[in-house]
């Protein structure tokens, strides 16, 4: 080793001995942090969340695809064709004593209403309502249909005629008991058009 360089190195060694005391002590406490850095961790979490969101969206879409599709019956199909914005209503705005019979339906999202005619003039309504084939309870069926008679009474063509199946001034929920008959559907079709 070059003698001059050696002496200079010794001087440097001595100068290192005069380093700041806090720096010297803190060096003994340093230990490499285990695991991954904060930046890497953030990226990994963001990536996991993105994957999770993608799966959730796919799952929601698939759930929509495989959700049991409920076939609309004749009355629902008829009413579905009338489900334009012009017939959309807020259920709280219904006048149950309007003196007019109104058919009100709910498609799972919105309420719609169309006037059938003066209550006093709709004798056929009484004939057909409450008639139809028995059906099993279907939890997936979201459609609901009521007829507000205009005198405060509310009935549903999906319920058999009985005193217990009449509501007053409310759109009551129900469990379908019957499927409206063809006669009823034709009668309504005639009134709507």
């Amino acid at each position: 080793m070059n003698r001059i360089k050696e002496e200079k190195a010794l001087r440097l060694y001595e100068a290192i001995g005069e380093l700041d005391q806090m720096m010297v002590n803190s060096a003994l406490h340093y230990k490499k942090r285990s695991g991954i850095s904060t930046a890497k961790l953030t990226v990994i979490i963001a990536a996991c969340m993105a994957v999770f969101m993608a799966f959730a969206m796919v799952g929601a879409y698939m759930n929509g695809l495989f959700e049991p599709q409920v076939e609309l019956d004749a009355l629902e199909t008829l009413l579905d064709e009338e489900s334009g914005k012009e017939h959309r209503i807020d259920a709280s705005d219904i006048d149950y004593f309007s003196g007019e019979a109104e058919i009100i339906w709910y498609d799972g999202e919105n309420y719609y209403m169309k006037t059938l005619g003066k209550t006093s003039e709709l004798s056929g309504l009484q004939t057909y309502v409450g008639q139809g084939e028995q059906v099993d309870s279907d939890e997936n069926r979201e459609y609901r249909v009521w007829i507000s008679c205009g005198d405060g009474r509310v009935i549903s063509p999906y319920l058999e005629s009985s005193a217990g199946n009449v509501g007053y001034c409310e759109l009551f929920d129900y469990d379908p008991e019957i499927s409206p008959s063809d006669g009823f559907v034709n009668y309504i079709d005639g009134l709507l058009n």
Binding site: M1, K5, K8, L10, R11, V24, N25, Y30, K32
Partner: protein, 205 residues
């Protein structure tokens, strides 16, 4: 007849009953201030091995290293009181380093052989030049060193200080910091290069 126990013996047994058998720095410093010779025993217990290691890393001789450490205890005894170091380990290490450097110079002026690894490493920090200034601005070098190390991240600073102040070998630094030996060697190499550049730029050494 029961022998009267000396105050020092009683105090030694009481003070030595620590959970790990070693006293705290302030307790040892108190003993120095009380001129209680138990201070030397406790110092040797706590720091003896480390101080010998620091000296040996420079002198490469056990006998010389032990002599330097004994001289260190004497120097510490003479300096306390008035000194009351907060970090006894650092205080003692500074003393043993200085004593060891003096011994190194004396040995090497006589023998011209047996190079200390650490000094050999530090020659890589020395800019090229064949002159040795009679006056050496140690304060300037110290300032440059402090600034240089402050600019480094915690990891690099710790490795440098552990190697060149505490004279720890690469394996010890690796096991205590969790870094690989390869990484430590790489850090030290780059830092020596960088320090050399700064010393050259400042016209020091």
């Amino acid at each position: 007849m029961r022998r009267q126990k000396s105050q020092a013996e009683i105090q030694k047994r009481r003070l030595s009953r620590e959970s790990d058998g070693k006293m705290e720095d302030f307790q040892i410093v108190d003993l120095y201030w009380q001129r209680n010779e138990v201070a030397i025993t406790e110092t040797d217990r706590k720091y003896g091995a480390m101080l010998k290691g620091v000296s040996f890393s420079l002198l490469s001789s056990r006998e010389d290293a032990e002599e330097c450490v004994n001289d260190t205890y004497l120097a510490a005894w003479n300096r306390m009181p008035t000194d009351r170091p907060a970090f006894l380990g650092t205080f003692l290490t500074r003393i043993v380093r200085n004593i060891s450097v003096s011994r190194y110079r004396k040995l090497h002026s006589e023998k011209r052989g047996g190079e200390g690894n650490i000094i050999e490493e530090l020659t890589e920090c020395i800019p090229d030049g064949n002159t040795l200034d009679a006056e050496f601005d140690s304060a300037a070098v110290k300032n440059v060193l402090n600034r240089f190390l402050m600019m480094q991240n915690e990891e690099k600073r710790a490795v440098f200080v552990r190697r060149y102040f505490w004279s720890q070998d690469i394996a010890s630094i690796a096991s205590q910091t969790g870094l690989t030996e390869g990484k430590i060697k790489s850090i030290l190499f780059r830092m020596r290069e960088a320090l050399r550049g700064i010393l050259e730029k400042e016209g020091l050494l």
